[in-house]
């Protein structure tokens, strides 16, 4: 029988879904702000505030998204091995590179067995590295454009230097392009999650709601759990607690 193992802690799931909702909201409102069109324009301009409302929703959702990214960043240093920041850099360790190759071979139909892991596979970790970079860039470009509305205060001071390097047109274009990159990622991400769930039978899709995955009894330790980067780190040693084992390693006997 399979074991039900707790993988995704509450902050991981919470920020995941807040990100999903805010990215959807930000993409829809952002696209509208870039290409506004009303099928029924109000007769008098005082009668409608649609563009204003859309922009308000975009700015509000952006700050919710930023709070979520901040919390997730904190959890990358405080959470369990599957939430750890080291998972973003699989190419740094031998196990990580091996697991990346395995995953790539599976996706390109070279190898039949999927890379079964307790957390996420190494190739997924690499894609999240790009996502984190994109998050940083879209937040920065967004704040830079937002700050220009009110050229006083902290956002202006923090971001205005970028317009010495890039024109505002380019910054705005980058903001658009990163949105499309994130939407492309979302498509790939949902498809792969579905595929892995079907192939591995581990309840991956529901794990993002419950936090639990159904792992085989003979589950090997993750590439991230055996990574020297991870095992040598003091935080990891501390986090393992008295049993000295991670959730996936426990009751393996």
């Amino acid at each position: 029988m399979r074991r039900r193992v707790y993988i995704w802690e509450v902050p991981v799931r919470l920020t995941h879904w807040v990100n999903v909702l805010s990215i959807v909201l930000l993409s829809v409102t952002g696209y509208f702000i870039g290409n506004p069109y009303l099928f029924i324009a109000p007769r008098e301009s005082y009668a409608g505030f649609f563009m204003g409302t859309v922009r308000f929703v975009h700015f509000a959702a952006a700050f919710v998204f930023m709070a979520s990214v901040l919390l997730r960043t904190y959890w990358a240093f405080a959470g369990n091995a599957y939430a750890d920041w080291r998972g973003l850099f699989p190419f740094l360790t031998k196990d990580g590179r091996k697991n990346m190759l395995h995953a790539a071979q599976y996706y390109f139909f070279v190898r039949r067995d999927p890379p079964e892991v307790a957390g996420h596979n190494a190739l997924a970790g690499l894609s999240y590295m790009f996502i984190v970079i994109f998050y940083g860039l879209i937040i920065f470009t967004g704040l830079a454009l937002f700050a220009q509305l009110h050229p006083v205060g902290i956002w202006y001071t923090l971001t205005n230097w970028v317009f010495g390097i890039l024109t505002m047109q380019r910054v705005r274009m980058a903001h658009h392009m990163i949105m499309w990159a994130l939407l492309i990622f979302a498509l790939y991400h949902v498809y792969v999650a579905w595929l892995i769930d079907m192939e591995e039978g581990n309840g991956l899709m529901s794990s993002m709601f419950s936090g639990f995955k159904f792992l085989p009894r003979n589950q090997e330790p993750d590439w991230i759990e055996t990574s020297p980067l991870m095992t040598d780190s003091q935080t990891f040693q501390r986090r393992k607690g008295s049993t000295g084992k991670t959730p996936a390693q426990e009751d393996l006997g």
Binding site: N35, A41, F109, L149, H176, L195, E199, R217
Partner: protein, 375 residues
């Protein structure tokens, strides 16, 4: 202007401008400078009793557009007369002397060290090949600017060109044109008044501020007066209500355009340009570009000729994807390609799952097949 010139009051009266009109003008300047109303009489007194302030107006790589802005009034306005009140000692376009005689009046201003003077610079300064691409009387613009600006009580760089190189400094910038702040680095008392051209109301306000308070107005980090360049055009635009309501011009001359809707979708750069154009207006407040139905081109923003193109669209086109490929068309196409890839991969995976089912991991899973209908 000779020292015994008639007073401002007499000169205004001679042109048929009443004291009421003059005080109204001082009120406008006070409002432009964002000063409390109580300062209007102080500005009026300062303008009336201002000591003779020699001004040297230098033109380098320019089109004399700022001079035109300065002289543009078809009838003598209060502003024009007040600007005459300052003593324009040297201005190539409008001065009577020519050649050596003209250079002499500049030399006289520079030689009189006891008398502070104001330098107004129009046009960019070429720096390539020793600055030979702009010379006046055998001297390069670079050396003239260095000589004059360092001695001036204050320097006002008028127009986009004198600010950051403007048009001559646009890509590929063959002459290495730069603005005053780069050509004469470390200049302490420098006011930048970008724009193509700058707004003469703002120049008058800066001069009035200088005469009233003996100091330059507060500047932003780009060296522009905050009173004139502190707010986005978008924030004070008369079409802003249409923007917030979502009413936009879709094509030139359509019904929305005739109704005066927002020009955002026509590439208006008002949302990214800092200027008091909507409040001050042009040509004595007659109109201004957006008021006349054309989007802002962002002429007051940094390196505007390189930065705000294309003039008539929100986003620049993406190089390498042909004409009119915007970020959104490229993004949408990429999303479509990936979606197609996902479908192909999904079908291939389904076929693989059918032909070679995934082995049970430890032999303990029970795979329950759905009941099949038997006919």
């Amino acid at each position: 202007m000779p020292a015994d010139a008639p007073s401002l009051e007499a000169r205004l009266a001679a042109r048929g401008i009443s004291r009421r009109q003059f005080l109204t003008f001082c009120g406008v300047l006070t409002a432009t400078l964002a000063l409390p109303e109580a300062y209007a009489p102080k500005i009026a007194r300062a303008l009336e009793t201002a000591p003779r302030l020699p001004v040297v107006w230098l033109e380098f790589q320019d089109c004399a557009g700022n001079t035109e802005s300065f002289l543009r009034a078809s009838t003598p306005t209060v502003a024009a007369i007040v600007l005459e009140q300052i003593s324009l000692e040297y201005h190539e376009t409008i001065m009577a002397p020519a050649g050596r005689a003209a250079e002499k009046s500049l030399e006289a201003v520079l030689a009189n060290t006891g008398q502070p003077f104001l330098a107004i610079i129009e046009g960019s300064i070429p720096t390539k090949d020793g600055g030979i691409y702009c010379t006046i009387g055998g001297k390069t613009a670079l050396s003239i600017a260095e000589n004059v600006c360092r001695k001036a009580a204050a320097t006002i760089a008028v127009g986009a060109c004198a600010w950051d190189g403007g048009w001559p400094g646009a890509n590929p910038n063959p002459t290495g044109a730069v603005g005053v702040k780069t050509a004469v680095p470390g200049l302490k008392r420098l006011v930048n008044m970008p724009g193509c051209p700058m707004n003469v109301t703002n120049l008058t306000a800066v001069l009035a501020h200088f005469l009233t308070f003996k100091d330059l107005p507060a500047l932003d980090q780009e060296g522009r007066p905050l009173f004139a360049y502190g707010q986005l055009i978008h924030n004070n635009c008369e079409r802003r209500g249409h923007f917030d309501a979502g009413r936009f011009v879709e094509t030139w001359g359509d019904e929305s355009h005739r109704m005066g809707y927002c020009l955002y979708k026509m590439g208006c750069k008002g949302p990214q340009t800092y200027s008091n154009c909507p409040a001050v207006g042009w040509n004595d407040g007659t109109s201004w570009p957006i008021g006349a139905g054309h989007g802002c081109v962002g002429c007051m923003s940094p390196h505007f000729w390189d930065n705000t193109i294309p003039v008539y669209s929100r986003l620049p086109n993406i190089e390498g994807f042909g004409v009119e490929a915007t970020a959104d068309t490229v993004g949408l196409t990429a999303l479509g390609v990936v979606a197609a890839g996902v479908v192909v991969h999904g079908v291939a995976s389904a076929i693989r799952a059918k032909s070679s089912p995934q082995a049970a991991h430890d032999g303990s899973e029970v795979v329950v097949q759905p009941p099949t209908k038997k006919g």
